[in-house]
């Protein structure tokens, strides 16, 4: 299989987009980008462009879904029809339903759900352009949107993938790298608690490669975490200064 496509890593150890093996794609994050949402965030990671919005806590509809002891978190991951090469039908695919579930489960451990019994909170993620690693970028943005909405949280959740390309373990795979014969390990982390809240994998990895990939992804998460915090500070610390 691997002979079919061109080399994804050159002799100098650089990837197709010129990155080093353990280098993230350029990341741009903004919070509070949507006026109607209670919290929102926008992330660009390489060619990925993703919007996340939070509505709530609010009364849950249908009402029978409400829980007496905690808030219900709902999550929808959705890709725009124009986000990929061939038009994607706007109807939710099985992949999107699965990703909505794992993104929800990645965010849930970070939120003090018990502070808001009988309510619901909706997280909407729209992938406007996809280039590999959208679930991770979605989690990074969604967690910021929750923070922007003022939801009490144990920590921010940050996500990043590592994987294997041309038999080498690398960080933050693009779509081309992901589709090649290798492996992809998306991982979400609450850095302060050293807690992994999302872990998936496809491809083939030895136990040693897996350990390496997990460690690399953890490092990547910690780097993005710094950006996440800076983004929040930029937004809220400067607002405070203006008020004075």
């Amino acid at each position: 299989m691997s002979q079919k496509h061109e080399k994804l890593i050159d002799k100098k150890g650089l990837r197709l987009d010129g990155r080093k093996l353990d280098e993230l794609r350029p990341i741009k994050i903004e919070v509070g980008v949507l006026s109607n949402a209670d919290g929102s965030a926008y992330i660009e990671q390489g060619k990925n462009k993703i919007l996340a919005a939070v509505f709530g806590p609010k009364e849950l509809h249908p009402k029978h879904l409400a829980l007496p002891d905690r808030m219900v978190l709902r999550c929808r991951y959705h890709m725009a029809p124009f986000s990929v090469q061939e038009r994607k039908s706007p109807a939710p695919s099985r992949r999107e339903i699965e990703l909505s579930k794992v993104i929800r489960e990645a965010l849930e451990p970070s939120i003090f759900l018990e502070y808001y019994p009988r309510t619901g909170i909706d997280v909407f993620v729209e992938v406007l352009q996809a280039d590999g690693g959208t679930r991770c970028a979605s989690i990074t943005a969604a967690s910021l949107a929750l923070a922007d909405a003022g939801i009490p949280m144990r920590d921010l959740v940050v996500a990043c993938a590592a994987g294997k390309v041309d038999d080498t373990v690398v960080l933050d795979l693009t779509d081309v790298e992901d589709k090649a014969d290798g492996a992809d390990v998306p991982l979400a982390l609450m850095p302060n608690l050293n807690a992994i809240t999302l872990l998936q994998m496809d491809g083939t990895l030895t136990l040693e490669e897996f350990e390496k990939a997990v460690n690399l992804a953890l490092e990547g998460c910690k780097k993005i975490y710094v950006l996440q915090k800076e983004t929040l500070k930029d937004r809220y610390v400067s607002v405070k200064e203006v008020e004075e």
């Binding site: 061939e86 099985r94 992949r95 339903i97 699965e98 909505s100 579930k101 794992v102 929800r104 489960e105 849930e108 451990p109 390990v185 609450m190 608690l193 050293n194 807690a195 992994i196 809240t197 999302l198 872990l199 998936q200 994998m201 496809d202 491809g203 083939t204 990895l205 030895t206 136990l207 897996f210 350990e211 997990v214 460690n215 953890l218």
Partner: protein, 263 residues
């Protein structure tokens, strides 16, 4: 999660696990009794039933001809679907597949696809036009926990049991000839699922353990002891150390089970 377990029992399960024991007498990394039967549905091209303790899953495979995907014109198509049949549990409702059955199907699919169980290129009839489509339908008949491992095992057993129709192509038409050839199954991935309870990992959680677990982690291990698919589920978390520990145990358990089944 509508069925209720008493607080007393929850506490008991958690306390026992802290001591390295389980309510049903198993050790933390023991599987329940595992039975695999193959070829139980004659109308299906392949079939199997797996019993994992009281959990029961049946898988039937059907083979039809169809069009390949545009990005893989030389490959047959593999489709996995899972039904949480209402008779299997009071928590399963009739209706279109919910996120749980979709997730189950996609975990089983990933285990089979990523470890390259079937040589999909051998299922090509006419490149870009006609290929064999293998339908793997997972039917959960009794839910007593760990549907993932039972379904993955049953799906593999059914694929091993699957016979492909012989055929010839006449003027673009596929004509089925008498006789069958076995589906070319090359690999034997085994999926091992852990539940995290009281900060400890237990293998093959049964229903009551699943109801009190923080989260679960499933790993598919191929014939060479490599990991080929992972899925974390549930709204808890694992530490990096627990993940690596789970990978080691999964490798051992998969080897053990594969040896026992003679695959």
């Amino acid at each position: 999660m509508s069925s209720v377990i008493t607080r007393v029992k929850q506490k008991q399960i958690a306390q026992l696990i802290a001591k390295g024991k389980r309510l049903d007498g198993r050790g933390l990394t023991d599987y329940r009794e595992t039975k695999v039967e193959q070829g139980i549905i004659e109308r299906a091209e392949g079939s199997a039933r797996v019993l994992l303790g009281k959990t029961e899953v049946m898988v039937g495979t059907k083979i039809e001809t169809g069009e390949p995907f545009t990005d893989t014109p030389n490959e047959g198509v593999l489709t996995v679907n899972a039904e949480l049949v209402p008779l299997a549990s009071s928590t399963f409702e009739p209706g279109p597949p919910d996120e749980n059955s979709i997730e189950l199907a996609r975990i089983v699919d990933r285990g089979i696809r990523e470890s390259k169980v079937i040589d999909l290129e051998k299922l090509c009839i006419e490149p870009g036009k006609k290929v064999f489509v293998v339908f793997v339908d997972v039917y959960v008949l009794n839910h007593d926990g760990n549907l993932i491992d039972a379904s993955a095992l049953a799906a593999l057993a059914a694929l091993i049991n699957t016979k492909m129709p012989n055929y010839e192509v006449e003027e673009g038409e596929v004509k089925v000839k008498p006789g069958y050839t076995p589906l070319p199954v090359r690999r034997h991935p085994i999926t091992v699922t852990f539940a995290k309870i009281n900060d400890k990992l237990v293998v093959d959680p049964w229903l009551e353990e699943e109801q009190i677990m923080d989260c679960r982690l499933s790993m598919a291990i191929d014939d060479d002891g490599n990991i080929c698919a992972i899925q974390k589920g549930g709204s808890g978390y694992f530490t990096p150390k627990q993940v690596l520990e789970a990978a080691e145990i999964a490798k051992e358990k998969a080897e053990e089970l594969r040896k026992k089944l003679g695959w």
